[in-house]
Amino acid sequence: MKITTTVQAGSLESSDILITLTPGQNEDLIINIKSDVIKQFGSVIKNKIEQTLKTFGVTSVVCYADDKGAMDYVIEARVEAAVKKALDKEGDK
């Protein structure tokens, strides 16, 4: 599944993460992360986002993650919410 609209889920509150999904050019998942804990958890965050996108069948997207120290379950929830928003928006077209 390709993401074809731009959506956001989450916030910039402490311990939250703001996920922005925008359409990708190619058949891949591009993930850009900004995080207060990038040095300690950068790869963990990236893996979690990638894994969640895959779980929901996303095959093409550019994902921006602005992380304020969210834990794994928060990241998962925000990515899921963003994907579902994108699907909703597409249904409206």
């Binding site: 207060d36 040095k39 300690q40 950068g42 120290g69 834990m71």
Partner: protein, 514 residues
């Protein structure tokens, strides 16, 4: 490399630093036989100490390349003095100075320019926050910065290890003879406790003030007998900047829960009785412990002997409510405290040397019952880091952390279990500020860990039904939520020495990779 008793790798020699004495234990080192000399002066009747400009003072003090100049931090992030003085020194082309500051704040960012242009080459301080700290971590200083504790700085000055050529003292009020204080005038900042040793032991002392009063100014923080010159400037500082840096009030329920838990620990310890002496740090939930302790004291009619350290409005309120007989104040953390110091005779200004210098014939922290400590992280050996964040950037320093932990009867670290995503309990702290052997317990929202050296305390806490956990179990349950953080990569290059209060080296801070 030497490995000190807390397992830290310390270089055998550190550029620009005295002989390296590896940390061994909190009280093992003895003072030299004599303190450093004080410097006499000769002021004739009618002679004028008042100088028109900083430039004139630099000339009169014969300030030259390679000398050491000192500053105090009572205006905290509102301090104008350090920048003002350095600007004039740089104009005169003087190079290679050492700054002996008690603390460096974000407002001191212009210092970086003076490092680049060679005016300043070395720095020592007890606390550092902001652009200078960040630049230091990335190797801005040619010589490693020396971090001391509050008491350790006075020890070093008085032992002659930190020999000051010229002390530049910002005072909110002074008279033409050099008597000065911090309680009067438009820039009143309260106690000037960190300036006292500088004045007693520097070769030359220059007082800068924006509020010149008729002779004699009284009461004086330091008297005319120690002051060479007085300069009237437009403004020495912005009092609004005092309450930045360490001071954060806690309102969130989690912080309050932790504070309440800490007050229960104090209660269970048996120290909560008439005559209790008490101090908190100024950050995070530590301050809020005072609030809960107040409630307990009021309910039971307990009157404490003193509250000490950096004084906040919380402590002022406790004094006014009759919960302490005295406040012993080295620095005011807000303008309420500054006002109280001026008006309340039970609120006493004390020098930082009296507060915590281990090589005096006594100090206040030796009489302290309970200390509430802050931490950026702790480890399974109860070591405390208040120097660096978990990503390796310096955001503070010991201040009185190591001093009070070493001497109080009960030293409690109060901290949330998770900050951002970082688990607060690490295998090893990144920077070791305060040795675990001086820390009694760690209070978090996920449980209380008691130092195995304090079985007696653990029993008391368990008897009160408090949530005591083994520190490894606590660490594991926190990491279940956060995951295990990757280790921060550093190079071998030492950017700062962390000197323990007795003059030994407890740790070094290394330059970050990339």
């Amino acid at each position: 490399m030497i490995i000190n008793s807390v397992g830290r790798m310390i270089p055998e020699q550190i550029m620009g630093y005295k002989e390296v004495i590896p940390y061994q234990s909190p009280h093992n080192l003895n003072p030299p036989e004599q303190k450093a000399p004080g410097y006499p002066g000769k002021i004739l009747p009618g002679e004028n100490k008042l100088l028109p400009t900083i430039e004139e003072a630099i000339k009169k003090c014969d300030l030259r390349d390679g000398m050491t100049i000192s500053f105090h931090h009572h205006f905290r992030n509102g301090d104008y003095v350090l920048n003002m003085v350095l600007e004039q020194i740089a104009k005169k082309g003087i190079k290679d100075l050492k700054i002996a500051a008690s603390s460096i704040f974000p407002i001191h960012a212009p210092l970086l320019e003076h490092i680049k242009n060679g005016t300043v080459s070395r720095l020592s301080c007890n606390y550092m926050l902001g652009p200078v700290a960040e630049a230091m971590c990335n190797g801005a200083f040619e010589y490693p910065v020396i971090f001391r504790t509050h008491g350790g700085r006075d020890r070093a000055i008085e032992a002659g290890e930190e020999s000051i050529d010229v002390a530049f003292i910002g005072a909110s009020a002074a008279d033409k003879a050099g008597n000065f204080n911090g309680t009067e005038g438009p820039s009143a900042c309260g106690s000037l406790g960190y300036s006292v040793s500088d004045c007693m032991y520097a070769k030359k002392v220059v007082v800068l003030t924006d509020y010149l009063v008729p002779y004699p100014l009284a009461p004086a923080s330091v008297e005319e007998t120690h002051v060479d010159y007085v300069i009237k400037v437009d403004s020495v500082g912005d009092p609004a900047g005092i309450a930045t840096g360490a001071v954060r009030m806690v309102r969130d329920p989690l912080g309050l829960y932790i504070a309440k838990l800490a007050s229960d620990v104090i209660d269970a310890s048996g120290l909560l009785k008439d005559g209790i002496s008490f101090q908190t740090g100024a950050g995070g939930p530590t301050l809020a412990v005072a609030k809960f302790l107040s409630e307990k004291m009021k309910k039971r009619g307990i009157v404490g002997s003193f509250g000490s350290g950096g004084i906040t409005s919380y402590f002022v309120e406790m004094l006014q409510d009759g919960l302490f007989r005295y406040l012993l104040d080295t620095q005011c953390f807000d303008t309420v405290a500054a006002k109280s110091l001026k008006e309340n005779p039970k609120h006493i200004e004390v020098s930082s040397s009296r507060y915590a210098n281990p090589h005096n014939k006594g100090c206040i922290v030796n009489n302290l019952d309970v200390m509430i400590l802050g931490a950026t992280e702790v480890d399974v050996d109860f070591n405390v880091n208040v120097h660096t964040t978990s990503d390796g950037i310096v955001i503070g320093g010991s201040g009185g952390n190591a001093d009070t932990a070493a001497c109080s009867k009960l030293a409690i670290v109060v901290t949330p279990a998770i900050r951002g995503r970082m688990p607060i309990i690490q295998e090893k702290v990144l920077t070791l500020t305060t040795p675990g052997e001086t820390v009694d317990c760690i209070v978090t929202d996920m449980g209380i860990a008691v130092n195995p050296r304090r079985k007696d305390l653990e029993e008391k806490l368990l008897a009160m039904g408090l949530p005591v956990k083994n520190i490894y179990d606590l660490k594991n349950s926190i990491e279940k939520l956060t995951g295990k953080p990757e280790k921060i990569k550093t190079t071998d290059e030492v950017v700062a020495v962390v000197e323990y209060r007795n003059g030994s080296v407890i740790d070094v801070i290394r330059k970050l990779s990339n």
